[in-house]
């Protein structure tokens, strides 16, 4: 699915072609950013909550080894079977073996970005196991054979008419029906049947409490619970960074999560799973998938504090104008752009450059990840590792300069000359991307330096 053909700039350009659509997308996400602003400003201690959350997560990262052991021991005490997976393949194999042992060939899955990253559905399908995504947005994306474009709002890039068409094609709704309530009701009936009949349910994990061995799953639809409480086998997949030390810390994170994500005071459902239901099997899979490597990168490890609220996407003007799928990674937007290069630097070399470094992402982040600083740092790493050439115009410009750099120019003029020879608005060329939709600045008669020298001469050098 992730066979990459185009980089962010090319995919974004294609997305922008439909201006009415991109304006709608931009406006819908900006509306959510505004709701987030209103919600956060109703909490006088908001900034202190962010700081506390960030510090708790710093503590988690610094003591993750012991917390994982504590969490594991408590899970076992609570009757939950614990599995460890180092990569996607191992994760998928574990899920498959759990289902196989119970001779289950149908599963229902609530939202889990981790299983998207693992391509679990495809893996299981190849082995004869059918998976239905139960989150409405993810369900729509699954029907349309597309990955989610946003971690909280999986099909925010689609208009209702498109969704109506997908429902018509795959579920047999009447052609032309696109009313959101009608479509949602239809999906409700359809998926309720799946909830009732499927014996296995998989959920993601929002927070895992080391102290008690319970995990918290947050949804607005109630789909995680519908699946879990009707299943014989319940599986939870989580990245190892989802730990919080103590239960009281949930108070901090649950106050921040939904307000940051959608402006709601709390998600409708915050479910605390501690023990299996009588007669039910409960499994939890702890997954690495690059987390330990990111933990070992001092300048990027803070990205592991992310609680997946999506606020950085909603506020990011680049994301709003380019759509989540242009990031060609499961986690898109600013946070995706600092997580993805850790997974595959060559493939995702363009993402840290898909930003103006405006810094709004860092300001809305509920755990205070300095996202824009990390984007800057990734650019340095990507260039040093030799992947800058993957980034189109930028790579060419930068390479031109690098090639010209070894001592061939006089010291003073070199940097300035590079800039003036390479800054796009200085190049009077129709192939120059600057000129495509923008005029060049008018060339003045003289530069400030020339004016200053002339004025000093005319007025005497010590005159003001």
């Amino acid at each position: 699915m992730e066979t990459k053909t185009k980089d962010h700039a090319a995919l974004a350009e294609a997305f922008i072609k439909d201006e009415e659509h991109v304006n709608w997308h931009d406006g819908a996400l900006w509306w959510i950013r505004q709701k987030r602003d209103i919600a956060s400003k109703q909490i006088p201690e908001w900034e202190a909550l962010r700081e506390a959350a960030s510090q708790i997560k710093s503590n988690v990262l610094s003591n993750l080894h012991d917390y994982l052991l504590q969490f594991e021991a408590n899970l076992i005490k609570n009757g939950i079977t614990v599995h460890w997976a180092s990569d996607a393949e191992e994760h998928n194999r574990i899920v498959y073996s759990i289902l196989k042992a119970k001779e289950i060939n149908q599963m229902i899955k609530s939202k889990s970005m981790l299983t998207e990253e693992c391509h679990l559905n495809e893996y299981l399908a190849e082995r004869g196991i059918d998976v239905i995504n139960s989150d409405l947005g993810e369900y729509i994306q699954q029907l349309d054979n597309e990955p989610p474009s946003h971690i909280v709002l999986p099909c925010i890039h689609k208009r209702k008419e498109e969704i109506g068409e997908i429902f018509h094609e795959h579920l047999g709704t009447e052609k032309g029906v696109s009313d959101p309530t009608t479509l949602t009701r239809f999906a409700r009936r359809h998926l309720r049947n799946a909830f009732i009949t499927r014996r296995a349910a998989l959920t993601g994990v929002n927070f895992a409490v080391a102290e008690t061995g319970e995990y918290v799953v947050c949804t607005n639809e109630g789909n995680a619970d519908m699946g879990a409480h009707l299943s014989d086998v319940q599986i939870a997949s989580m990245g190892i960074e989802k730990i919080v030390p103590q239960k009281k810390h949930l108070g901090i994170f649950l106050r921040l999560l939904a307000r940051s994500a959608t402006g709601q005071p709390i998600t409708i459902y915050s479910s605390h799973f501690k023990k299996p239901r009588e007669g039910q099997e409960m499994h939890l899979i702890l997954v690495d998938l690059g987390r330990t490597r990111q933990l070992g990168r001092p300048e990027f490890r803070e990205s592991l504090k992310c609680i997946k609220c999506g606020a950085c996407m909603n506020t990011c003007p680049v994301y709003r104008k380019s759509g989540g799928l242009s990031y060609h990674n499961t986690i898109s937007g600013p946070i995706g752009a600092i997580l993805a290069p850790n997974l595959d630097m060559k493939r995702h070399a363009d993402l840290p450059f898909a930003s103006t470094l405006c810094g709004s992402c860092s300001n809305v982040c509920p755990v205070k990840i300095t996202i824009h600083d990390q984007l800057y740092q990734w650019r340095q790493v990507i260039v040093k590792e030799g992947f800058a050439a993957n980034t189109k115009v930028l790579g060419m410009k930068a390479m031109a300069w690098t090639l010209s750099s070894p001592g061939s120019y006089a010291r003073m003029g070199r940097a300035g000359r590079w800039v003036l020879n390479n800054i796009p608005f200085a190049i009077n060329n129709k192939l120059n991307p600057w000129y495509k939709q923008r005029e060049m600045p008018d060339g003045p008669k003289e530069s400030f330096g020339e004016w200053y020298a002339r004025n000093q001469k005319e007025n005497g050098s010590d005159k003001k």
Binding site: L136, P180, R188, I196, E221, D225, K248, R277, L295
Partner: protein
Amino acid sequence: MNTRESILAAVLKNQPPASPLPDISAFKGSRQDVVDNYQAVFTSIGGIVHVVNSFAEINDRIRANFDPTKRIITTLPAMAGYVELMSATADPRTFDDVELAVIDAQLAVAENGAVWLPEQHMGQRIIPYICQHLAVVVPAEIIVPTLHEAYAQIGAGDYGFAAFIGGPSKTADIEQALVMGAHGPITMTVFILV
């Protein structure tokens, strides 16, 4: 080395030097106006609130607002005379036809409208999710200002499953248009018992 050991070894090797936990004891809300605040917030998130004085009054409200010919169940002995007392052992799938479930909360949180329901209050875990409509009885004295007070009271908690539920099931996945009743209850009513 197996996977577990190798992940733990990599974590130990790569984790940064110790960083202390912050003191979060200063985070707390005010008890003032918690009942009014609760009502305002819960209403704003699409919930329905009735302030009542007795279970008889709750029963009257239920008769007035829900179809009594459909299946209504409860965990509350005080409601047993009015509606079906649910079975704790029945197959959870058999509750698919429940129109209304009436249960009670252990806590409610004024700042976000959520009620805290350990599974003992649910009867079965599936009940507050599978019903078409959910009604929760909240004695006024169990309303706390914020999640901080809520977790302080919950402590470790003697449950296998528990949840905060704050309103009817919701989705806005199609064009950000808010639709109540994505998969779970289409409405949620709270009876504040004073």
